[in-house]
């Protein structure tokens, strides 16, 4: 392997050699520069591969042929090699991105860039303190030089502010170095660690050096001077500045922290966390995209600084975590900056222009997922291991602060992504050219490769290696195919996976699998109505299904959590496709991520840092920890089942989603939450916290959700919102059932899982079909569609009969089991809410069917056709299933009943032939169906005999109070259908929960908007901020002692 010193030598040599070549042939000079950078990248990559595969040992390079303490030595281990590779690659791509100014300014600029990359590499390799200082100064001057390449006039001011603060840093660092030398007698980092510290002022010396390096990392309160560079410099340089310089400075801090000893680590953690959370909050109110990226990169540097601060606890996972975070930040941030070169406008909404190029949207999504740390990227593995290690060491507050920071960061990143997908693009907003797109896609490839490497390195479970995720990647590649072909493939994939795994599941998991996988396939039939290629739909849908499939397959906490996040990611992209769904998709994502982080914390506490922790051992958690694990996991799962209080994302997300996405998200996705609750309650059972039985709390939440969900559904004017609120109510029922913690309660919940999937998908598809024809979701704008859309009417009719629990159909089965369940459950008061929710449920269902299908037909709708055949087909399948399930509930329930019996150890239901008897009553679905049908047919025959030749008359043919209506709109009673209810119970409609969550978000935004005002742009005040920061930390850390 060639010696890494060559990296420095090539960098410098080419920089000097450029002077010799003729100034005229600029493109040749540019090629030489690129060749040099490529060579440096090749060397570092060679070292990475050699070190990773163990072919080479950590290289110790002695300059001047003398042993280290007396000469400068360089070291290249695996960490250094990885950083070197990132830096040189970032340098190469940034040079490509900055080709226009480089060619314009000639060899001077190229030399400065080369020296900058060399200096950053030197900073990573050197093991000598003063050499560290020289390289930092080199970076400072080179940065000042390159910043000038930007067209932006403000770059000069930014450069000057940068230089002013670099001076202050230089002063502090020099004093720190010289007094460390005086105290320890040597300048070499490894040598200092060996010898004990004699001079009592050494602590202050170490402090000065450390604080100088930390200020170099642009910590939150004192980083105004660096943010201007991000805003005004050329994006190519900003990429290099944040990815390469940021990572190298972090590594420098890490080197100094090793010899400074563990006493300083809490200080580093404190500064890091303050910087991470602070800059993320301030970034919330940013409108300029590059400044936002600046804040985000400062935040990420703060996060890694905090991780460095925790190195004593992380042990050997430290490199894996810190490396994962640094590399994913470097690749993502560099990619985003290079992308910002393509977008013409500088505000966040101008990024809507990237929609013109599908690969760019994929790139944007990849980078955001990497920054937030979603699977399958390294950040995800790193965050998981970090959480495990922190909880194992009992440092929960630090973990919660980090998760809070990540949540805030995901807030503004996903809001930005929403703008990019949803806002209308200004024309010519994209300066897409092959080179910039090429670089960005290279970064994307780098990101996915890192994801694979981190997955393999994780040992336990490589997300990218699982079959479902590979299917998602396959669908990403199949994008150019027409939608119908992809739809067939998708359905085949789902059914194939179900056939493959169906054998190994217990009855309960089997039902969930049946609802989720083949259920998804049935809903996908409805996607045949779409024409064209539907870019982005199939990968997102398959990601959601992959998440669900893996959720059922999961055996350990990590697999479960990875599946949970993939499912959330996929469903977010699906919901975002809706026309008006941007704010709702954002609130969905934030709630889901909040819930996922609650799960992460819960799993971490439960496993206590033991990796890999099997899922079925959840019950073995220590008794004092169990309630907290219970609360965290319950909150996490309830964000997904939209229990009251965590529900405000659901109405918007389900209502604004596309026609075939609403059933998927509502019918299937909510079941994931229920599946989680089942697992949790199965393992943890009844827990009580501060004397309150938590399952009793869940009962109350379930009851309140059921009642309020139904009440709110009555007052909706939009059909899909009505169904969305009804989903909240039905999930409330299911949650109530599970929380009863008795056999029949769980059976009732399972009934709801099946029933809710069937009729909610049916109703959403029906309303979707009506929407496709009438182009409106507002019920009072429709009416009288029964004659034009008979099949849709039948499906909605069967749906509401089943849903309201009226006897012949399966809804009644659920109610019957519910009654038997509450008979022996000790509680009384929550039942009242459930009893009230029942009939109210019937109201909104009737409103749905009356306002859309009955009443007066509007003139514009006279010539409407039936909903598209592909939409009606799945509805008919569901109708058939409902009737079949109503007559033979045993078909699905008997095995599950046995399984639940094995858990609770009792067998309350006796399945005798077609009748089901319980301790309190009996239910014979076949008899009920037969009696009703016989009576119905006989009465119908009587009416038919008497009135068979009636002539069909239009609804319009009516007289009321001696007047004939002249326009159908006036006589269709639909708007504010339940006015009396609104007068009587309107007070329940006050948006208590949404005002609470709105208050929380506005509060954080307000804080962000207030604190960012203190960056007033004045270079001198920034310098004062730095000195103030140094003095403040000095007082806190040293308390004035030497």
């Amino acid at each position: 392997m060639v010696s890494p010193v060559l990296i420095l030598a090539i960098g410098l040599g080419t920089a000097f050699a450029l002077g010799l070549l003729s100034q005229a042939r600029k493109s040749f000079l540019f090629l030489v520069t690129l060749a040099a950078l490529a060579l440096m990248a090749a060397i570092s990559l060679g070292w990475v591969v050699a070190l990773a595969t163990g072919a080479a040992m950590t290289a110790e390079i002695h300059t001047a042929g003398v042993a280290p303490p007396f000469a400068i030595n360089l070291r290249v281990g695996l960490a250094e090699a990885a950083l070197l590779a990132t830096i040189s690659l970032a340098g190469l791509f940034s040079a490509l991105s900055m080709r226009e100014p480089l060619l314009r300014l000639g060899r001077g600029a190229m030399a400065v860039l080369l020296v900058l990359v060399m200096a950053i590499s030197g900073l990573v390799m050197t093991r000598d303190l003063f050499n560290l200082f020289v390289f930092i100064e080199l970076i400072a001057i080179a940065t000042a030089g390159v910043v000038l390449l930007s067209q932006d006039q403000r770059a000069i001011c930014a450069g000057f502010k940068y230089l002013v603060v670099s001076q202050i840093i230089a002063i502090l660092m020099l004093i720190g170095i010289i007094f460390t030398y005086h105290a320890t007698g040597s300048l070499n980092i490894d040598d200092i660690v060996a010898t004990p510290v004699a001079f009592h002022g050494a602590a202050l010396a170490i402090f000065l050096l450390l604080i100088a390096l930390v200020v170099e990392l642009k910590p939150f309160p004192a980083n105004g001077w660096a943010l201007d560079i991000y805003t005004s410099a050329h994006p190519g340089f900003s990429a290099l500045f944040s990815a390469a310089t940021g990572s190298a400075a972090l590594f420098a801090v890490d080197k100094v922290a090793t010899y400074a000893g563990d006493a300083w680590l809490p200080l580093l953690t404190g500064i890091g966390l303050l910087s991470f959370v602070g800059s993320n909050i301030v970034a919330l109110r940013q409108e300029n995209d590059r400044r936002l990226l600046g804040y985000s990169s400062v935040g990420q540097l703060g996060l890694v600084l905090a991780v460095i601060g925790q190195r004593d606890v992380l042990g050997d996972a430290y490199l894996y975590i810190a490396g994962g975070l640094i590399l994913s930040h470097a690749v993502a941030k560099a990619g985003l900056f290079w992308m910002s070169a393509i977008v013409r406008g500088r505000t966040l909404t101008d990024w809507a222009a990237i929609r013109a190029r599908a690969p760019m949207v994929l790139a944007f999504a990849t980078f955001i997922a990497m920054l937030v740390g979603l699977p399958p990227f390294p950040g995800f593995y790193a965050k998981w291991d970090l959480a495990q290690a922190l909880v194992a060491a009992g440092r929960l507050p630090i973990l919660s602060l980090i998760l809070l920071g990540v949540l805030i960061e995901s807030a503004y990143l996903f809001r930005w992504f929403g703008y990019a997908i949803k806002r209308e693009a200004v024309e010519k907003g994209l300066l897409a050219n092959t080179v910039d797109c090429g670089i960005t896609l290279a970064a994307v490839a780098g990101g996915w490769a890192l994801g694979w490497i981190w997955g393999v390195a994780h040992g336990e479970f490589n997300v990218l290696a699982t079959l479902p995720v590979l299917a998602v990647v396959a669908f990403l590649l199949l994008e150019p195919l027409p939608a119908k072909v992809k739809n067939v493939l998708a359905i085949a994939a789902l059914l194939g996976w179900f056939a493959m795994v169906v054998g190994g599941y217990d009855p309960m998991r089997l039902i969930f699998a049946a609802v989720m996988i083949p259920g998804g396939a049935v809903i996908l039939i409805a996607s045949f109505t779409e024409t064209g290629r539907r870019i982005g739909f199939y990968p997102s849908a398959m990601a959601m299904y992959a998440g669900l499939a893996l959720l059922l397959e999961a055996t350990t906490f990590f697999e479960f959590f990875a599946a949970w996040e993939i499912m959330t990611l996929g469903s977010y992209f699906l919901i975002l496709r809706g026309r008006m769904s941007e704010p709702h998709a954002l609130s969905y994502m934030l709630f889901s991520l909040g819930g996922a982080f609650a799960l992460l914390a819960g799993f971490a506490i439960a496993s206590g840092g033991v990796q890999p922790f099997p899922l079925d051992q959840l019950g073995t958690v220590a008794a004092d920890l169990a309630p907290y694990v219970f609360v965290l996991l319950a909150v996490g799962f309830m964000t997904k089942t939209a229990a009251m209080g965590l529900h405000i994302w659901l109405p918007g997300a389900h209502a604004e989603a596309e026609t075939d996405v609403s059933p998927m998200v509502s019918g299937i996705l909510l079941k994931a939450g229920l599946f989680g609750l089942f697992l949790m309650l199965m393992q943890l059972g009844r827990q009580s916290l501060w004397g309150v039985d938590l399952t009793y709390v869940l009962v109350w939440i379930g009851a309140i959700s059921a009642f309020l969900g139904a009440v709110l559904a009555i007052f909706q004017e939009d059909a899909k919102r009505l169904l969305a609120y009804s989903s909240i109510s039905q999930m409330g029922y299911a949650l109530f059932g599970i929380a009863l913690m008795n056999h029949l309660g769980w059976l009732m919940a399972m009934m709801f899982v099946i029933n809710h999937y069937v009729y909610k998908s049916m109703l959403f598809l029906a309303v979707g079909g009506v929407y496709k024809r009438t182009h409106t979701k507002l019920m009072y704008k429709m009416g009288g569609l029964i004659t034009l859309m008979p099949f849709t009417f039948v499906s909605v009719l069967v749906g509401i009969i089943a849903m309201s629990g009226v006897p012949p159909l399966s809804g009644f089965g659920g109610r019957w089991i519910f009654y038997n369940a509450i008979m022996d459950a000790g509680l009384r008061l929550p039942l009242i809410l459930i009893f009230m929710a029942g009939p109210i449920g019937f109201l909104y269902l009737f409103r749905l069917i009356h306002t859309i299908f009955l009443g007066q037909l509007k003139d514009p709708h006279r010539k409407l056709k039936e909903a598209p055949a592909w939409l009606v087909a799945p509805q008919m399948i569901f109708v058939a299933f409902l009737i079949g399930f109503a007559v033979l509930p045993g078909m699905a329930l008997q095995k599950v009943d046995g399984y639940i019996g094995s858990i609770f150890g009792d067998q309350p239901l006796v399945w005798s032939g077609r009748a089901i008897a319980s301790e309190f009553g009996y239910w014979n679905p076949v008899a009920i169906m037969v009696v009703i049908i016989v009576v119905f047919v006989s009465v119908f025959l009587i009416l038919l005999a008497k009135n068979h030749d009636a002539q069909k008359v239009k609804q319009f043919n009516i007289v009321f109070s001696a007047e004939r209506p002249y326009r159908p709109e006036t006589t269709h009673f639909a708007w504010n259908f339940f006015a009396p209810y609104r007068k009587a119970m309107g007070f329940l409609e006050t948006p208590v929960v949404s005002t609470f969550w709105g208050g929380v978000t506005d509060g954080i935004n307000g804080v962000g908007d207030f604190t960012r005002r203190f960056y007033n742009g004045n270079g001198q005040s920034y310098a004062i901020h730095v000195v103030l920061f140094v003095v403040a930390v000095y007082l806190i850390a040293m308390g004035g002692v030497a």
């Binding site: 020289v134 403000r154 000069i156 002063i171 020099l174 007033n1016």
Partner: protein, 118 residues
């Protein structure tokens, strides 16, 4: 002797910092920074000074054999040389920036260059 040098060095640094942070004129800030740099250089050399010893040059007066007892610590001097040149480099760069800033807005007052904020 060393304490005096250290004290003057630190006083110069503090004076330089004070000047840099209070003066609104850019040129005066740069002057203040040069003074601070000189102060740092003095501190660096002062740390290397051992009372009662001579310059680290091995010539007739200081034979190689007893060099260890006769010379002061050469390392800080080596560092100072680099520090001085770096100081000059940064000062020259700041002057060039000051000139460009002046050409931009025809004023040298730092508070006029504040459009990059929030």
């Amino acid at each position: 002797m060393a304490q005096i040098a250290l004290a003057t060095g630190f006083v110069l640094i503090l004076a330089g910092l004070y000047g840099a942070l209070t003066n609104r004129d850019i040129l005066r800030m740069i002057v203040a920074f040069t003074i601070a740099d000189t102060g740092v250089n003095i501190v660096l050399v002062a740390v290397g000074y051992l009372p009662g010893r001579t310059a680290p040059i091995l010539d007739a007066a200081v034979p190689v054999a007893e060099a260890g007892q006769r010379i002061i610590d050469p390392v800080p001097q080596a560092l100072v040389l680099t520090a001085i040149v770096i100081g000059l480099g940064i000062t020259a760069l700041m002057l060039a920036y000051a000139y460009r800033l002046f050409r931009l807005r025809h004023s040298l007052d730092i508070s006029t260059f504040t459009e990059l904020k929030w």
